[in-house]
Symmetry: C2
Subunit: 455 residues, 2 copies
């Protein structure tokens, strides 16, 4: 391995400069006017994968293309690792809040600032460079590798599951390796043991045929704004639990060992609250903050719109109210089941005189790993060697719905090893990735491939 | 009186056509670009009052001018009637919902369609024409008359109370006569016995320093969208009562006689619900629909804004939520007291981890009349003679805060006699006034002046 690591060390400057070319392409998948840029990013990535020593193909989809780059010289007896990532990025708006332009990578304070640096171009490209280091130094990599880079992650991956279904043989693998998450803290490499699922709804409350004068009609009809508030308030009880009957029926109690490991992580509620600017942290009774974030489900308003919201005192009794509500789910909750429970609950508690409609906008199942066995041991060893300290286990509060789909459809183990840091402004202005993590991470991944050969 | 009524009858065509000139002036007080039009309406009204036989003065204010037109030939021993109305109108938007242009008066189905036809140019101008009929026929009007027409009613009359204070002698009177309301039903003249007061607030809930990712932070902080829903839901109990402690302490029980009269009015809950397009009417237990609208206080959401309200599933945990809440008040509730009660309630029930701020936007006290005594008898007689049927007593759900100010500051009796009809689209597209009511109303007012001389 020393040749490989020396190669990486000798080429760090070039690895950064290549990444900056990748980050300069505004591959914003949500915006049709950037469709050309998104395709350009796919082509750029495919060409760099070829140069590194993989065989790359660009697959068209009804949306943005999927790049698949293969190296199968380890032979049919060797394990195969599918590396998944995405080359598309979130829109950069609001632009005025960026310190340096989102698509002009800029180094400040040991960080690479650019849209996509952390999510996910930077982390995806680390894999290409780690593979290049093996191929360029003639190391005998003990695993076959398939890199799958999609261009629609930021718009809900609508074409990915169909692609996986259609290309099950091409994508057949033992491990799905994903670097699209972060480390628990600076200098503390981490292994992810969970991701929450998502169930996202709009609730619409409809009242009279039109908006009414609040003086002429107020008191005699149900106000949709009051009604939607009543419905939202009914979603929690006084102990911070979600109060929809049946909501916890499928929640699996987390194992004692994981809860013990969570409790051992360095964490200060006081510092966390101060960082967020709130006087107190709140949540479900009986769980710590990290447990509330990682292993317990939630229900959050994402938006409410009703009636007159401009300046001044318009005395209107609105005839419509809308709320966007997202639930984060934990094993074995299922978004379809949550939808049915929510619909039944809303129908049961809704006040007379209004109609209520629940629309599902998005759903994804939760994921959970044991972090036991040779695959996770390999990852732990590689991270410890690269960062000089044992990785900690951590949960993920967010959702990457494709993870559980990969596991089930490809019958493989998902391994999530990420290198961004808390506060790295994912989906926000001034997104960044630590230069140190980019560079150490390439070494860690190169070692991880090696170790997965015998895992 | 027969000369006066014959004059009115002979001049109805001209009275309509003059009104249409008034209605053509887009005197939209809320819009600075119409300041010239608003002044033009004051000047037009002042000139017509002079032509009718009054002595008119335009008083400048820090906002739009106030026109005062006097006729005091009845002498110092005769009673003085102050006629109050307003020459400004609501903005006409949305324009595309008007069948004919808002400032081009159009007759259809026996109605005058135009912005301001009902509220209030049409009703204000009826007084000028009723007075003209007296002066033109040499009738010896037994009352002194002061017409006060303001141009800021639709923006909360910010300069009216200061003007009344400053000109207390000029405005000194025995009766304040206002035609800015409606009749209970077609062909059924009405005397108003109440107006509800208003207390209008914005409630702001503030959470973290910025919007948060609902996955990374959801479950550990209080969501301002959930919090504001909880606060709004807490404003009512299960019986439809306002649940703010102390809210009903100052509510005076209505007299049995008025409640009996309300119960006798022709009213169908079924028809009312059908007209509004709702499956059921709702409200405070123990009160009929008309009582809920007229003699009981309410709490209604007028608007809510929180987080992301565009298309699709943005998984944001917002750091701010805002609700506009209006209370309609009944005697002897007071907006200042309601503010204090609301603030105390919100502070007591607000969840941890957020701050809550209550801003008062608008307030006005309720008004109540007994409908007993010679002044109301005079009005009842005049209406019966003009419309051929005894007037019914009715309450007003809306608010005209100046009424109680006039009563108290001028030590006068307020008499509210209006001629619009339910469904006349006040503040909405296709506002209308029945031609029949415009014409019969002028006769009714002419007779009323006569009768008030001996009341």
């Amino acid at each position: 391995m020393s040749d490989v690591l020396r190669f990486i060390d000798d080429n760090l400057g070039r690895f950064r400069s290549e990444l900056y070319d990748f980050l300069r392409i505004p591959s914003i998948s949500a915006k049709a006017e950037h469709d050309g840029d998104t395709r350009a990013a796919a082509e750029w990535f495919s060409a760099r994968a070829e140069e590194a020593g993989l065989e790359a193909t660009i697959h068209d989809t009804p949306g943005h293309p999927i790049v698949v780059a293969e190296w199968r010289d380890a032979g049919p007896e060797a394990p195969t690792v599918l590396i998944y990532g995405h080359y598309d990025v979130q829109p950069p708006e609001p632009l005025e809040l960026w310190t340096s332009p989102p698509f002009e990578p800029t180094e400040r304070d040991g960080r690479i600032y650019a849209r996509g640096s952390a999510d996910d171009k930077g982390q995806l490209y680390m894999h290409v460079k780690a593979l290049e280091a093996h191929f360029a130094t003639g190391s005998t990599l003990p695993i076959n590798v398939v890199v799958l880079a999609e261009g629609e992650e930021e718009v809900g991956s609508p074409n990915l599951v169909p692609f996986v279904e259609e290309h099950a043989e091409l994508l057949s693998c033992d491990v799905v390796l994903i670097s699209d998450t972060g480390m628990y803290a600076e200098g503390l490499p981490s292994l992810l043991f969970s991701l929450r699922g998502l169930a996202y709804f709009e609730i619409h409350v409809h009242g009279a045929v039109s908006d009414l004068h609040s003086g002429e009609y107020g008191g005699a009809v149900t106000n949709p704004g009051n009604a939607i508030s009543q419905i939202i308030a009914s979603l929690h009880d006084a102990e911070g639990r979600v109060a929809i009957p049946g909501f916890y029926d499928e929640v699996v109690d987390w194992d004692v060992e994981t809860r013990r490991q969570i409790a051992e992580l360095p964490h200060s509620d006081e510092a966390f609250a101060r960082e967020l600017g709130v006087a107190a942290l709140t949540g479900e009774d009986g769980y710590s903050t990290l447990e509330r974030l990682w292993i317990r489900p939630t229900c959050d308003v994402c938006g409410i719109l009703c009636g007159y919201t401009g300046e001044g005192a318009k005395t209107v009794l609105p005839n419509h109210a809308m709320a966007k509500i997202s639930f984060r789910l934990v094993p074995d909750q299922n978004p379809d089941h949550v939808r049915a429970l929510l619909e039944a609950h809303v129908e049961a508690i809704k006040p007379n005189g209004v109609t209520v409609e629940v629309r599902e906008l998005h759903g994804g199942r939760p994921w959970k790993a044991s972090l036991l066995g040779p695959i996770f041991e390999a990852a732990a060893d590689a991270l410890e060697e690269a960062f000089g300290t044992k990785p900690v286990p951590m949960g993920g509060g967010g959702s990457i719905p494709i993870v559980v789909e990969f596991e089930e459809r490809l019958d493989a183990t998902a391994l999530l090893v990420g290198f961004s840091l808390p506060g790295c402004n994912l989906h926000a202005p001034d997104e960044w990735l630590p230069i140190d993590n980019y560079e150490k991470g390439i070494g860690a991944l190169a070692m991880l491939y090696e170790k997965l050969g015998t895992a």
